[in-house]
């Protein structure tokens, strides 16, 4: 049977190969989660993923575990918006280091091309049509005292 482009085309996704490379299985739940994220244009929380999936298709715990593993493989990105729940979005390109503009109301996101911060907020606001743009920036590292 030849694969038809009109029905489920499930064998040409970039994540398929990436999963196999790590000897990870492409199971029903995982495929469902990935296809859902593929379809969404905003990061979803575990619960949102769970609820969006056809009832009984996948356990909440499995969502947590899948998403965690996908993050480890660099297939999805975790967003900590600051409200209690983590959100996840597909990382289309293997392109790490991208910043995002998140709507504080609907959590929809847009990718930011550049990576400057100075006059940024205004510039970002102007280009994106978002309003009341703010940003959160933190640096992380190992301090001198801890480098021992």
């Amino acid at each position: 049977m030849g694969s038809k482009a009109t029905s489920k085309v499930c064998d040409d996704r970039p994540w398929q190969a990436r999963l196999r490379q790590q000897s990870r299985k492409l199971t029903g739940p995982r495929r469902a989660i990935l296809e859902l994220l593929e379809r969404e244009d905003r990061p979803l929380s575990n619960k949102e993923i769970f609820q969006a999936l056809p009832k009984g298709q996948c356990d909440l715990v499995t969502v947590y575990r899948s998403v965690q593993m996908l993050e480890r493989l660099g297939i999805v990105k975790r967003f900590q918006l600051g409200d209690g729940a983590a959100r996840f979005a597909l990382l289309e390109s293997g392109d790490h280091h991208r910043h995002h503009l998140v709507c504080t109301r609907c959590t929809r996101i847009e990718e930011i091309g550049e990576c400057i911060v100075r006059e940024l907020e205004q510039r970002v606001a102007a280009r994106s049509k978002f309003k009341a743009v703010t940003h959160r920036l933190e640096f992380f590292g190992i301090c001198p005292a801890c480098q021992s």
Copy 2:
């Protein structure tokens, strides 16, 4: 009784006035929390604050509530390092918009003077002696669809 500079000098802190302005009471627990944060050079989690306080001095729930209120008044800053717990540090100056360099091991922090991000990590690393410096940057705002 005249106030002695050698013992508890508790009436000249910048936060005292700020609390009163908002018709907030300067209670024992609050003073204890503020003086603790004043003394620490790193953001503390609610639990850490609770444990650092003289036993029985203040309930854990009160720490949560106090710290939340102090954040609302702009007296402390909340840090979401990404591990489950929020941390709080005194905001010495009313100076909002400051970025911080956080040690991922001990959570000690340093203020970052500038606010550029480009070649930043390297520069920040070099100046601070921190290693393995990374950063997290997100923008927030109201997207066009939500501005109605």
